[in-house]
Amino acid sequence: MTNELKAMTPKLTREPEGQDHVRGREPDGDTPVGKSTVKLQTADLNFYYGAFQALHNITLSVHERQITALIGPSGCGKSTFLRALNRISETIRHTRIDGRITLDGSDILKMDVTALRRRVGMVFQRPNPFPKSIFENVAYGVRVNGLPQGSSLKEVVEKSLHRAALWEEVKDKLHDSALALSGGQQQRLCIARALAVDPEVLLLDEPCSALDPIATAKIEDLLFNLKSQCTIVIVTHNMQQAARVAQETGFFLMGKLIEFDRTEVMFRKPTQKQTEDYITGRFG
């Protein structure tokens, strides 16, 4: 069993120094994993769709400037959990949250929701560019939230497209429709759009599930570079992806958080039988 996992893990880690990341040594000398501060925390979080309870007592801490992956079979509540973190879940009728979610120690359920969403950005499963130009897509959040002092809209858009590794591909057609881009480009555009408002946390809900492997690899590289600038939480169906990009991983099953630990530990020595079964492909 353990041998199987050992044989699997190196294959999954694309970067040669990937193991070091997992152990917590950042290439750019950031704080090592584990000692980094808690950015986002939930305590006894319950979530209901009408009478149906989708999440049961989730207590989890997301650490600053690292990637946290949430894995689990379909319908396990990982997306629901993610959508609670920026309260986009509230847009669906008859939903209810109880428990505590804190961002830098303050309760997000008491925050102004638009201020919260400015700080906690989100990228969705399917690329959802607005039917506007590439420029206007990236500019949208800035127009909503106001321009940071001393910068121009053009600068912010260019910088965001650079950060999302899309600038070179679109710099000559900024005013073309965003819908003319390929799926992978559209998803990076959505990431650029989220980054334009300079969020502290970026939530990604299966961002690569509609993309081919090459586009997926580009997004993963991008996430890897972004984590020095913001805290990332990614929901993924793809365990290899979690193993490749995340420093910490949580495993959800039927609305419960079964196990949460450093990715390395989760994939090599899970303490829970259910985690092990899922990771080795016995179910799910």
Partner: protein
């Protein structure tokens, strides 16, 4: 062998029947168009668009006042019907989930089924009687009421067709619900809503009954908005039943003009719907 023959015979018969019926459907429009063009276009000349109707018994004259009158009545109808229908549609699509909205939808569908002459009587009681005069305004109110249900339902349908993912994308960036609706959802549904409104306008442009006792009709220019006015459909009605051959011919011409206008608007609207809205510029 016989069975196979029977099958083939039935097949041939049904194919012929359905084919004939299909041809009939398209044929009716072509016949109407052709007949109108034959009778109408030949009576059409520049005077038709620039001159007032000639006194009874005299040849010549035109329908300039009716063309302008129709335009003015439709303008009033749009100013009344479009905002009410559009904003009502926005409410139903974006905020309407409860019982109230269900009732509104049902009532709207009923309103859409009210015979146009009844709407005319209503506008008569609402506007003409209190003001003690027939007017462009009264005609516009009648047609405007007729526009509301379709404006409302098409707006609602096209807004609902905008994917939830776009709304979530905007709200995840910190946009409020109303900001999302006005900067993302409505622009995304814009071409659909606009073409729906054009079809709606084309539909009421041909309405005659509600205008008979609201705009009433006359044979001279109608200054302002509070005087009785001629309109194309009402002129067609009056001239078609007239005893004078010259007026009958002009009725054909007016019918042709009206049809060309309505079909033109229809075609333009369908062209606008057919174009993928998203491919356009920002």
């Amino acid at each position: 062998m016989t069975l196979s023959f029977r099958r083939r015979a039935v097949n041939a018969l049904m194919l012929t029947l359905t084919g004939v019926c299909t041809t009939l459907v398209a044929g009716i429009l072509l016949v109407i168009l052709g007949y109108l063009a034959w009778n109408g276009a030949t009576s059409l000349n520049l005077n038709f668009f620039t001159k007032l109707p000639a006194p009874v018994g005299e040849a010549g004259g035109g329908m300039a006042n009716a063309i302008l009158g129709s335009g003015k009545v439709l303008l009033v109808a749009m100013l009344l019907g479009v905002p009410i229908g559009f904003l009502g549609g926005v409410y139903l699509a974006e905020f309407g989930a409860g019982m109230f909205s269900g009732v509104v939808r049902y009532v709207t569908d009923l309103l859409n089924g009210v015979p146009s002459i009844v709407i005319g009587i209503f506008a008569y009681a609402l506007v003409v009687q209190p003001m003690k005069r027939h007017s462009t305004f009264a005609g516009g109110v009648a047609l405007g009421i007729m526009m509301i249900p379709i404006a409302l339902r098409t707006t609602e349908e096209f807004l609902r067709a905008v994917p939830v993912s776009l709304r979530e994308g905007a709200m995840a960036l910190g946009a409020s619900k109303s900001r999302t609706i006005f900067t993302i959802v409505i622009p995304a549904a814009k071409s659909g809503i606009l073409s729906g409104l054009m079809l709606n306008l084309a539909r009421v442009a041909g309405e005659t009954a509600p205008l008979l006792f609201t705009a009433f009709g006359n044979t001279f220019w109608s200054p302002g908005w509070l005087n009785e006015t001629a309109t194309l459909p009402q002129m067609i009605y009056n001239y078609a039943i007239s005893a004078y051959a010259d007026q009958n011919r002009q009725a054909w011409a007016a019918g042709f003009v009206l049809l060309v206008l309505v079909l033109g608007v229809n075609a333009a609207a369908r062209f606008a719907i057919g174009r993928t809205p998203a491919r356009g510029r920002s």
